[in-house]
Symmetry: C3
Subunit: 309 residues, 3 copies
């Protein structure tokens, strides 16, 4: 089981920034290639007032801050140079859909998608879209949001593929702003199946790939959830990838690299569930030899040994 | 907008120690010089029972632990060697003034100031005083504390300059011992203006420089607060610097280096507000190429690129 | 006062993993030797479903995950190669004894001890046992647990020595899953003496060495507690070591390396209390030149300077 893709965690909203410039990013694309990664997914193009490029839409509508560099352009160029597929992540207002106004989140993003496609659509590495609004349950108008944004992305871009990466409302679905690591009463398999059947049924024409995050359930439950996710995706005709998280959810310090044994178990469990493709959140903080967290470089070495065996 | 000074975070009370010896400190003074820094400010000479040198006053009055090295002497020597101005930070009992007994905090510090001036006052790099008791509002007898200590520092030292570095009681004024990053209801501009008018009016004869911390308000509010702080300082004849924080207040992990974009925005905002001098809390953890947090070295590189442009 | 031993923090349950392979572990055994360490203590052989080797007992009884490598074997080989004494740590279910069922915790561990001795007992470096169930008070059937496991370890291994490392229920006895660092009302000296008298009296035939953790009381109280612990151990015929913690309990971020001054004070306090041997929790994260926390390498340098003086 190989990790073929990674998120690019810009704009992050909870993981401290590494302050890399273009030189460091280029070096990391080389690191990724060496590890067999050929797909990069921008986690989101903007969050609240922060943005990855100087968007007219986000500037005028959200009063977004003008960023010092155009990260989208840089990632597209590096992707082309290193033969990566680049997926563009939508904007997360952090408020409209969170407060129930899904319509406004959708309308704003449609305008952004238009702007982005007109600005970057001709670039060779632009290969798809990531709908960055993450959810775990059939909450609010999430079906409509995924369907509308997926349809719009595909309409403007001649049917480029669309990805979502939901999570499971498991025992480790805990705010990053608390220090505990588990809660009582995660979602049951049957409830998860019921809600995601309805969601997939409503979005199957607009979303091509679903990559559930694999870190919110206990290791004992993981295989069952992975199998269920694969069955559900198969039933509704979506491709099923696993988003194998490379940070450790079991520690009082949030967001340090995961123990290799855990990553290995999760990859093996996904393979057993019949899943063939893995992406990760994310390479540059948690698995890169040049990460500020030196545990990440050792994780990279363990993973490379695993690839060779 | 250049950062011309930095705090030296010894004694820290919330940021893990880097365990540097003299060799590492000397290397960091070189790093600071290369970044254009010519002023170093000892954040505090002691906190509770911890102290930066073996003070008779703190030993007898507070039962302070005897430290393994004399950091004040070392900093003075390095400052002289690298042509830095050294500001000495007062002692923070962590209890007297916190519990309302400002008088005792003042009396103790007056005796310490006498001891310090007699011990280190003739050294060439000793160029001023930092009154380390930080506040955000007109609390207790804070005016009297600043005025008394400022007067005393100036009286013993032939009028060497005095600095304070208050904060704004904004939405990010949150204890470092909780994991949330924002609160409701920061102070309003008018309330801030009213309280700091009274404070400045009461301390203007004793304090030369005010350098408000710039991290406790949202980025949207920052420019207005910076302008107000500059106006207030001008009105009462204090020099107005900005203390631009180089750690990120928006993250679940407390006290990792800030994202360059945020630092850049804060420096630009200060320049727009007419402020000409910036210091930072602080170089060695958050901006140094040899920091234990590798993000800091990348922040240094981004800042150096900015200086060159 | 020299640190002669260190725990090996595998399986950790709260400190992020460094993802070292054999090469890094061998390098760290060299680092340890250079610092004068001749004893390594496996903190626990397993915790919940995680284990350090593929145990039949833990696999069948607990459904433990099959680990990717045999850490016990590796540590034994490295210990032999670098002339270290290896102590094997018992299994911590994280539930039986925690929920009051000490009997089950004991029975399971007896079977594990049999398995371990039969599998690894002939190896040259296998020099003792660590009873990994840590406590601070005479809680539940802790006396029976220590006595039963100690007796069993000694019975199967021709009387190899047994160690426990309790903590003091002091003001810093705080969950690692909260961000505060102190509580009100630590245990008093007399209460500590009373409870540990009873415990030592009940375990003195089965436990050879007690190494209290030294991080849970304030620095002002430490000497008194160290002296009391030494007296208590002498009274009941146990050897008294100090387990000098090398991480800092006073910081909002949990588990970063301690400030050298604090470690130095704790070592001096232990020497003053008549204690002659120190071990630490633990070298590889908090004191190693190759730790992911770079503060650890500087702590190592400060400690080495101290050894040379």
């Amino acid at each position: 089981m190989k990790i073929k893709g990674t998120f690019l965690d810009e704009i992050s909203h909870d993981i401290p920034h590494q302050n890399w410039g273009r030189k460091e990013w280029e070096k990391d694309f080389v690191n990724m290639r060496n590890a067999g990664i050929d797909t990069v997914i921008l986690i989101r193009s903007g969050y609240q007032k922060w943005q990855t490029f100087d968007s007219n839409v986000l500037g005028s509508e959200m009063g977004a801050h003008r960023p010092p560099v155009d990260l989208v352009q840089m990632y597209l160029e590096l992707s082309e140079q290193y033969e990566m597929d680049f997926y563009f992540g939508t904007y997360d207002s952090g408020k409209y859909w969170v407060n129930g106004d899904y319509r406004k989140e959708v309308e704003l993003n449609k305008r952004l998608i238009d702007e982005v496609w007109s600005k970057y659509g001709e670039q060779k590495a632009f290969k798809g879209w990531y709908i960055s609004q993450e959810c775990s349950r059939k909450t609010g108008q999430i079906i409509d949001l995924y369907a509308s944004l997926g349809e719009h992305c595909k309409a403007v871009s001649n049917d480029l593929p669309t990805i979502i990466s939901p999570y499971i409302d498991g025992v480790k679905n805990i705010s990053q702003y608390v220090t505990t690591t588990e809660k009582e009463g995660g979602v049951s398999l049957s409830k998860h199946e019921q809600e995601w059947s309805e969601i997939f049924d409503g979005i199957k024409h607009a979303i091509d790939i679903v990559a559930f995050q694999d870190g919110h359930v206990s290791f004992d439950e993981l295989t069952d959830f992975l199998k269920l996710n694969k069955q559900l995706a198969d039933r509704y005709g979506l491709a099923c990838w696993t988003n194998t998280e490379t940070f450790d959810r079991d520690m009082p310090i949030k967001f340090l690299p995961i123990k290799w044994e855990k990553l290995w178990m999760k990859l093996e469990a996904a393979a057993k569930a019949g899943i063939e493709d893995a992406i990760t959140f994310e390479f540059s903080h948690f698995m890169s030899p040049q990460s500020a967290y030196l545990q990440a470089g050792h994780l990279y070495n363990r993973y490379m040994e695993y690839l060779r065996n």
